[in-house]
Symmetry: C2
Subunit: 318 residues, 2 copies
């Protein structure tokens, strides 16, 4: 994921949201924009979402906004209403049009931090923190890599699968800016010849990737194909891409399942994918060096499910 | 700890370090200084230290710099040499003198992030990231609160005490910017009538506070007083304040001990303190509602140990 800004970062557009600009204000992403005392920068104390916009239309906007608000609620961070984020995204996309052309593929990152320590940005709690959107063209190289099979390592996330129920201070289930462990796990995988990671709990339950949701294709005892994903109750993020695929697959009559899943379920699965909003579906061809079958037909089928329910209007009107 | 910037943040002085300014350059902490794509802000992907300077002299500078470098090594972040940090701190302190007076009590925060995603700040790996120092007068209210007994909650950190040995990607032992869990634990304590937290591992070993090291005073079978702190091997940070106290206490003939410590050891201890660089020693008067004896004499004695080995010169010459 680190490559997302590499090829084309000068073309990014940024929008800030504050109490005076609840519908957003364009800011320059090449200039410094954050104070050194912003708790997002000093404590990883904030939340984010990364959305995907195709031809200027954001995919799964309601699911992302809903998860952003849930993350903010878990962290007790004030957060602008959905209309603000929607209008700000719209402003960013229009600015691309004004400058020439809206890129066909945009990564749209929404960030909310607790703001500057001890200095709320506004008395209105919905605008008390620091909020921005960064719209970045998805590099051609990332688009071309889509669907390329990847090797993953299975790594211990260190937590038991039941800890988040009794330890809300671990803020599991919130997509926070405190991603140092996720980034370190990806570096560890790269250093060991793999491209990505699937975390398991210390009691052996499958969890999620550092920036993705795990999907398995299994067979029932009767031989029926079944799409399965780990249990949310284990403290993982609800995957918006997984959610969209499951909704469409369900409508298409597929059998669906939710964990608990164990490490062995990976090796018994027919196929495995990592699902995320911009990379979409990454078929897994090996886990800890064990080969897993890949099927480009099924990968294409799951990708087609994601086209099943696309927005037809700009997010502001949804 | 959140109050550190509250009373007096406009008086803060900031210094940036980069390849062109390896000895530091003054920057305005009231102006935005960080890009939206800085991985410190978007991924909590950086490391920090908070030091304490009295009358312009930084305490435990070598211990802090050594821990900062160790944290950066665990995260594989390029980091300027000790001389750079030392010169930059010196520059900040001189600037206070130039503006009028060096505050008697300064909090000196050192921060190193991985820098802007995909755009190393320098080809020199020692300056590839983003680096700054923030010097903030310690508010009078914080100084007055020192030594005031506090109530703490004992909270599960979610990890087993042996996980960091087999899971280096959890970056335990590094003081990273990904502090969302630490901050959430402190909010949880405040919401439940306590002022601080002691974490234990999921297998019941005592670990550390979100921003402090735990010290216990116990008695040996023979009745000799003994100062004890949890085991570093459990994946906690090496406490610089605890280290300084132990060194001086050892010279004074005290008996010293290192864990493993269990939850019950807290309740069997004669006294408990949380040690940190700026707050110094916070005597614990209750754990999960159970009273713990406090002794202002012993708190004063431990504080005196911290005076035992003060710097007599500016950090650049140490």
């Amino acid at each position: 994921m680190a490559e997302h800004f590499r090829d084309d970062s000068t073309a990014a557009i940024a929008v800030r949201i504050d109490a005076e600009h609840p519908a957003g204000m364009l800011i320059d992403p090449l200039q410094p924009q954050l104070r050194l005392t912003d708790l997002g920068a000093t404590r990883g104390d904030g939340v984010f979402e990364t959305m995907y916009a195709v031809e200027g239309l954001v995919r799964k906007f309601p699911a992302h906004i809903s998860r952003l608000h849930r993350s903010a609620e878990i962290l007790q961070i004030g957060i602008p209403p959905a209309e603000s984020w929607s209008a700000a995204v719209e402003l960013g996309i229009s600015e691309f049009a004004t400058r020439g052309e809206v890129p066909a593929h945009l990564s749209v990152k929404l960030v909310a931090t607790r703001g500057v320590d001890g200095e709320p940005a506004s008395e209105d709690p919905r605008f008390s923190g620091t909020y921005w959107i960064l719209l970045t063209p998805v590099p051609e190289s990332s688009l071309q890599r889509r669907g390329t099979p990847i090797s993953v390592l299975l790594l211990d996330r260190g937590y038991t699968s039941d800890v988040h129920e009794r330890a809300p201070w671990l803020v599991l289930g919130a997509k926070t800016l405190s991603y140092a462990v996720n980034m370190a796990a990806l570096r560890y995988a790269e250093a060991h010849g793999a491209q990505d990671v699937i975390f398991h709990s210390s009691d052996g339950q499958l969890l999620e990737g550092p920036t993705s949701t795990v999907l398995l294709m299994t067979r029932t005892a009767e031989g029926t194909a079944r799409l399965v994903t780990p249990l949310l109750e284990s403290g993982i993020l609800p995957g918006t891409t997984q959610g969209a695929i499951f909704a469409a697959a369900g409508r298409a009559g597929w059998e669906l399942g939710y964990g608990p899943l164990q490490r062995e379920d990976l090796f018994n699965a027919e196929h495995i994918w990592l699902a995320s909003s911009v990379r979409l579906l990454a078929p897994v061809e090996s886990v800890d060096g064990h080969s897993i079958a890949v099927s480009s037909e099924l990968t294409a089928q799951l990708a087609a499910f994601l086209e099943d329910d696309l927005p037809v209007r700009h997010p502001e009107s949804s």
